[in-house]
């Protein structure tokens, strides 16, 4: 065990609250030291910070040892994203460390490295739409390498499945609460569809934390003050206002 190496590796606190899952993880370098996940019908405001507190206490790691605070930056539930983002911004402010904005859909695909073919995470975005993205893994030099084919976007479910049917790999892996909601439709349109089991089918802070480490190593950090979630969608009031202005022109 090379303990000296461990000390020089960055320690990242990962926060995930974009959907129903509330999760947090402590990642040192490429090692997940601790992960805490709940998928309950409780508000993240009541669970997230107690989870972080308990995890820190169990690991005996002091907040001052954290080198960066990572957050699952969206898309997702608007309120859920903001609970995670605001918590992360507050922590990063007080610890005077940078933040890492981990794209939520990327992180979900990142936790399924052993699938050959397209990986399509989906979050239910209501009105027959999903927040989704398209990814795959290749093997390079004996390691699985993550490829983003199409980063997060919002699309009508039928339109998305039609596109996958014509352009996608024969077998496609689906995960996330959107895949659950639209499972019948997916099976009907894509006979080659595979569904991830629940433990890897939802947002996991441990996997997201490792992706955060990759980003940290590439220098993809941001100042806490500048961080804001990526909603992928305007507020209803803005949409209606633009529609109205468009009609008036």
């Amino acid at each position: 065990m090379n303990s000296e190496k461990n000390v020089t590796e960055p320690l990242i606190l990962m926060i995930e609250s974009s959907g129903n899952v509330a999760g947090t993880a402590l990642v040192r370098g490429k090692k997940v030291l601790a992960e805490y996940m709940t998928d309950l019908k409780k508000t993240h405001s009541e669970t997230l910070m107690p989870m972080i507190d308990q995890m820190m206490e169990l690991t005996g790691i002091k907040p001052s040892e954290i080198n960066a605070v990572a957050v699952s930056g969206g898309p997702g539930s608007f309120t859920g994203l903001r609970i995670g983002s605001a918590t992360a911004k507050g922590l990063a402010l007080s610890l005077d460390v940078p933040m890492i904005h981990v794209p939520t859909i990327d992180a979900m695909a990142y936790q399924c490295p052993f699938f050959e073919g397209w990986i399509v995470p989906m979050m239910d975005a209501r009105r027959n739409q999903v927040f989704t993205g398209i990814y795959r893994f290749d093997t390079k030099d004996g390691e699985r390498s993550f490829e983003v084919i199409k980063p997060a976007f919002a699309m009508d479910i039928t339109e998305l499945l039609t596109m996958i049917k014509t352009e996608g790999t024969p077998s496609v892996l689906f995960l996330g609460d959107g895949a659950e909601v639209f499972a019948d439709k997916i099976r009907e349109m894509l006979p080659g569809a595979v569904f991830a089991p629940d433990f890897m089918g939802k947002q996991r802070a441990g996997a997201a934390g490792l992706l955060a480490y990759d980003m940290y190593e590439r220098g993809e950090t941001e100042a806490a003050a500048d961080h804001k979630p990526e909603y992928l969608r305007q507020s209803q009031a803005e949409r209606e206002r633009e529609k109205k202005l468009g009609q008036e022109q």
């Binding site: 910070m49 309120t79 903001r82 918590t87 402010l93 804001k228």
Partner: protein, 347 residues
Amino acid sequence: MNTMNQDITILAIESSCDETAAAVVRNGREVLSNVIYSQIDLHTLYGGVVPEIASRKHIEKINQVVTGALTDAKLSLNEIDAVAVTYGPGLVGALLVGVSAAKGIAFGAGKPLVGVNHIEGHVAANYITNPDLEPPFLCLIVSGGHTHLVMVEDYATFRVLGRTRDDAAGEAFDKVARAIGLGYPGGPKIDRAAKEGNPDAIVFPKTKIEGAPYDFSFSGLKSAVLNYINHANMSGETFRKEDLAASFQKNVVEALVSRAMLAAEEFHMPGIALAGGVASNSALRAAMDQACKERGLKFYRPDPILCTDNAAMIGAAGYYEYLRCREEGHFSGWNLNAVPGLKLGER
């Protein structure tokens, strides 16, 4: 609650509606910094506060206002004793930004977290402007979201004597202002227009609630104003906006002042304090001042900057809540949630 020998410095955060604010307050009375980012221009486009837009703006600005408040106070987080934050009442999505950020800051800095009631903050704004003010006193809290007549028995003990049965007073100002084309926010616009108008030009009915002498109702008045406008439009009669604004305002002010005076007499209160956004209304201030003088009561009101939503008032209320928590041996937990319908005095 002896704190003579040790200063307590609170970092306070407020995000319950459309202002993102942070402040540093010492011993509940001395404002070391008070930073407010107002979103009002953004919401004016929509004729009122849009909750989702407010929440989005809060998260963009929260760190800037906190850093600004610490910088203005020339203090580091290490020199702060606790982080106080509004956790209700207010817009749930907006509150959650402040609450979550406050938890992150308090946890990271190893400081206690103190959840503060927004309305208690409005009351406490008076402690900042009036250093000699101490409970007990009567407080009339009037804003766009609240109309409460409250006996402040102690710093953290409140007795609600009366409240609005329908619209808040400030809400009535907004609706009437919109109806006569003055725009948003209605309070200051009506106040300004009324200065050019005759308050006796139109007589609107007074509302009294049977068996509840301290309660308010403004929806009847609002309807009467709207009916008056409709009737005038249909019959081709004209009226001066300024006269309507002044007459409406007079009705509201009389309802507020008469109940406050009745309560002050009944409960032998030595003084009356105003709080909330509508406390900036010039007619209300003048009428309250006059009525208090006639009865030998002391009249308190916060500086205008402390009437609208701000974090300094949360720092003032947070100080007294900090003392109470410290005495009881526990502060707010990390599971503190936003409580959009939080009642005055509720813990």
